[in-house]
Amino acid sequence: MTIRRINLSPYLLALPGAAWLAVFFLLPISRQVVTSLSEGSIDDGGMNFTWHWQNYLDAAQQFAPWFIRSFEYAAIGTGLAILIGYPLAYFIVFRGGKYRTILLFPVIVPFLITYLVRTVSWQALLADDGIILGTMKHLGMLPDGAYVLGTTTAVVFALAYNFLPFAVLPIYVSLDRIDPALLRAAADLYANPLTTFRRIVLPLSLPGVFAGSILTFIPAAGDFVNAMMLGSPQRQMIGNVIQSRYLVTLDYPLAAAASLALMFLMIVAVTLYARLFGTEGLTG
């Protein structure tokens, strides 16, 4: 006779967390799916669930430029974050020595200033007569009418800044894992530093670059604060559309469709990227 005793402890321990995530994560997303297939508005008469899938068609038609711009900005911002972050991670790992931990501090600095204050500080830095542009104009390096605020450049650099720790930390980890003996072996075999980098270090750090770029791309594509505070009102991102449709015009069904379409497109983009990168990038 076998008595199967079920141990209840794990279920009791996991219950609060599991319930919280089910009710306040899965349920809202499911609810948003229902809203995206509804008609009507919350202020007059309420919404009715009618399988109105045309919302997705409308969202695609009306917001296509915003979707494209978001992905474009996020891709450029991610590229910048990697370009700026990679040399830093490389420097910390291979030249940091005993100062490694201290050197990691600037990397996580963007996380230590309040998101909004950070964005406002960028506004000040890039202001038309601020410290950078003002000085350059004073020195005659720039014409008087030059500006950066309100341009795509300002938005993509700010996006890169905001999510830079996400890009750098995985690269740091993958570079840190490289066995120094490999580099010595390469040098013994007469590889110059550039060849060593190209043939050994870069391929071994690609998993980090892969993880870092996904971690940067996803939040960047959904961001709306930078586009609103540093960009031009004519070139906003899809996050701005979702935000204003939900909070200002109260057009829930269309906004819900836009939000879920963003999620879907993001999954497609990440999957394609993973394919492009090859499987060794994923498993390494």
Partner: protein, 271 residues
């Protein structure tokens, strides 16, 4: 041979320069924030340096609405971090120490909550609250903050639980300790650093949250929402003072936990 040497020289210094520029880029907004906190305010937008003044530091709450907003932010963050850390630690313990039905599904959900852009989570939560006619305010913000914090806490505590030597727990049990005693005397002290770190992260994420809060805050104004509201009208130096104060506090907390952790590790002979 000469060109190779030259190339090595260039690549060496090029890397230093690139890393230096990156650090400059990372620290620039901090420098700007600290500088502007000492700026003499003339217009409503003081993006230009008008001269040194400590007025904003001496009267940090001279701006209407700033103090209540900061108070709400801090109280909310502390409560949220406490609850989320407890829930997340329990979940992590269950997942690492036991096998149970649904554990794999939970992993997927945890990953999804971290990977989903905030604008989608925020709008979906608003959709839910409006749909069930829950008035948005402090409570809905509390619910939402705990929700996004749980995953971060769970992931951090789980990695520590996986890392440590399980034979320590087995030894205690062999010596007759009950599971509860083992947890309290062996497991908890060993994973404490990661719980503290996770709690700190939960606190920061709640304190800093803007996007999700914007959707579910109703009429309540937290510090980030206050900055957002005021940024269109005026930019008092006090905003930068509070920003600097938060930055310094978090930096101090980070370094303290780091050094305490290192000393502990050294004392226990782990390094």
């Amino acid at each position: 041979m000469k060109t190779a040497k030259l190339g090595r020289f260039f690549s060496y210094h090029l890397l230093t320069a690139a890393a230096g520029l990156s650090v400059l880029f990372l620290l620039a907004p901090i420098g700007m924030m600290i500088a502007l906190s000492f700026n003499q305010v003339i217009g409503r937008f003081d993006f230009v340096w008008h001269g040194f003044s400590a007025a904003a530091w001496l009267h940090p709450f001279a701006v209407d609405g700033l103090l209540p907003a900061l108070e709400i932010s801090i109280v909310l963050a502390v409560i949220v971090a406490t609850i989320a850390t407890s829930i997340g630690t329990a979940l992590a313990y269950a997942q690492v120490r036991y096998k149970f039905i649904g554990s794999g599904a939970l992993d997927l959900i945890l990953l999804l909550t971290v990977a989903t852009p905030e604008v989608i989570i925020g709008s979906a939560l608003l959709d839910l609250f409006v749909g069930f006619q829950v008035e948005t305010g402090v409570i809905t913000m509390f619910i939402s903050h705990v929700m996004f914090d749980i995953a971060f806490v769970t992931i951090m505590v789980k990695s520590r639980l996986r890392d440590f030597d399980i034979t320590l727990e087995h030894a205690a049990m062999d010596l007759g300790a009950t599971p509860a005693l083992v947890f309290r005397r062996i497991t908890l002290p060993l994973i404490m650093p990661s719980i503290v770190a996770a709690g700190l992260l939960a606190l920061v994420l709640s304190l800093d949250d803007f996007i999700i809060s914007m959707f579910v805050s109703g009429q309540v104004v937290t510090f980030p929402l206050f900055v957002w509201g005021t940024a269109r009208i005026a930019m008092p130096a006090q905003i930068y003072v509070i920003g600097t104060a938060i930055f310094l506090t978090l930096t101090a907390a980070l370094f303290t936990t780091f050094f305490v952790d290192q000393r502990r590790a050294r004392r226990m002979g782990l390094t």
